[in-house]
């Protein structure tokens, strides 16, 4: 999968995943603690630049991967920006009818949703940084040794494998339909899509049956397969860098708080 390939050849691929996770989690925490828009924008930008710097020749599809949760975030923030009621109050700065209801907003709602957007964006960028710098195998091993329930990590690993199988099946079926001029006439293309989907569904069931048999042939007992990984060791330098990064983010938050209260009554816009 392309994200894993990007992670394996990234600049920070060799850095201990636990350190990266600590820094990224601190970044997410700092974003939620940041009091104003300026600090949130700074943190979101810093994480995006860090994620981009870390990747070596990323493909365009990597940014599709990044943009998917952002679309979700935009949709969520829109819900925060707008209020829905039978009639708009006189203080509403914008309103429009939605069937028999009115969707309305005012500056306070918009300000809140923008702040929420940048906080969410910081989180997405921090996770994007981890995804682009940590191969899945290292991530699993680290999670399994960090007290994360092994069965949960195991499900994650199996899902990752099955996403690969599913993508291959989807691609193969789509190619088979295209090779026989499927989807060439829009009137019949819905039927091709139905074949494609039902084929995928049946294929998934058959694959599950075969996998179950393959598990049985190797004494499959439901045991998790991650316990045998060697325990990761962290160097002093890795922990030092992680600590500095965490402190830097919290200094930014505290500085933002201080400047905000000094110059704008708690708000820098």
């Amino acid at each position: 999968m392309w994200m894993d390939q990007v992670a394996r050849r990234s600049r920070m691929a060799e850095v201990e995943p636990a350190c990266k996770i600590v820094v990224a989690l601190a970044g997410i925490g700092a974003a939620w603690a940041s009091p104003n828009l300026a600090t949130s924008v700074l943190l979101a930008t810093a994480w995006l630049l860090a994620a981009r710097w870390n990747m070596v020749r990323p493909t365009r599809s990597v940014f599709f991967f990044w943009s998917a949760p952002i679309l979700f975030l935009v949709a969520s923030c829109s819900l925060v920006a707008f209020e829905f009621s039978p009639s708009a109050p006189s203080s509403a700065s914008a309103s429009f009818p939605l069937f028999s209801w009115i969707a309305w907003t005012d500056p306070a709602h918009i300000e809140r949703s923008i702040l929420l957007f940048f906080r969410g964006l910081t989180g997405i960028n921090a996770l994007f940084f981890i995804a682009g710098s940590t191969p899945l195998s290292s991530l699993e091993s680290t999670l399994a040794h960090s007290g994360f329930p092994a069965w949960l990590v195991d499900i994650m690993a199996s899902s990752f494998r099955m996403i690969g199988v599913f993508a291959e099946q989807a691609q193969a079926r789509a190619t088979a339909i295209l090779s026989r001029n499927g989807w060439s006439r829009w009137r019949h293309s819905w039927r091709c899509s139905a074949w494609w989907l039902s084929g995928l569904f049946v294929g998934a069931l058959l694959h599950a049956k075969k996998s179950e048999r393959a598990m049985a042939s190797r004494c499959g007992s439901g045991a998790t397969v991650l316990r045998w990984h060697p325990t990761p060791k962290f160097s002093a330098m890795q922990w030092g860098v992680a600590t500095i990064a965490v402190l830097a983010q919290w200094c930014l938050v505290l500085g933002g708080n201080f400047l905000g209260s000094l110059f704008a009554g708690g708000r820098i816009l």
Partner: protein
Amino acid sequence: MSFSLKWENVRYRYPGADFQAVNGVSLQVESGEKIALLGSNGAGKSTLLQMGNGLIRPDSGTILKNGIPIGYSTKKLRELRADTGFLFQETDAQLLTATVEEDVAFGPCNLGWNREKIAAAVENSLAICHCSLLAARPVHELSSGQRKRVAIAGVIAMNPQIILADEPLAHLDALGSDAVLDVFDTLTKRGIGFLIATHNLHLVQSWFDSAAVLHDGKLLAFGPAKEIAKNHDLLSRAQLLSRHGLGL
């Protein structure tokens, strides 16, 4: 001590089928032996192999491990499957986890080995299959040949005495087939026995010690591989020679 697995007059009919998939077959494979299981599509090869791993329980007849009938309790099946590795034709279904080393560790983890023993088995199996460099790679990034070798590594990590393989060279080019056969050669030298279902008569002549010919669920013949592969009457009867010159 030599290990043996014996099918004794086994029969099996799939639920709802109106014919016997395996009909009174007796066969034995021992450590270090290389036996080919020849037969046309639907001859009963895969069913017979799966019986050897306890995946299918015969309707009648017995499977004997070292002369003792196998049991079908969870414990007995685990013991049987630790001794008889099974290599499926469709590698994709066999590779279950996200990365190569995890997949190879799957069997040993199920056997309840300790961490050091599992790590050693994973490392050793990957080295035998020339897959050490692939250890951390996600499975779906591998080529067909690499996947096949990883599947073999997953099987041999459990330290089996016999490997039952269902057309292991299917979908592989000459180079990929050579790589798999090299691994099999290494394992044979270590005393592992092979029972391999195949259609490839060239391979039967050049690599195997003996061959069994199945047709319509029955055992037509068993003997030295070279003799079987030259017996055109027998091969025609088993529908292994094509009218277009395929086969030999």
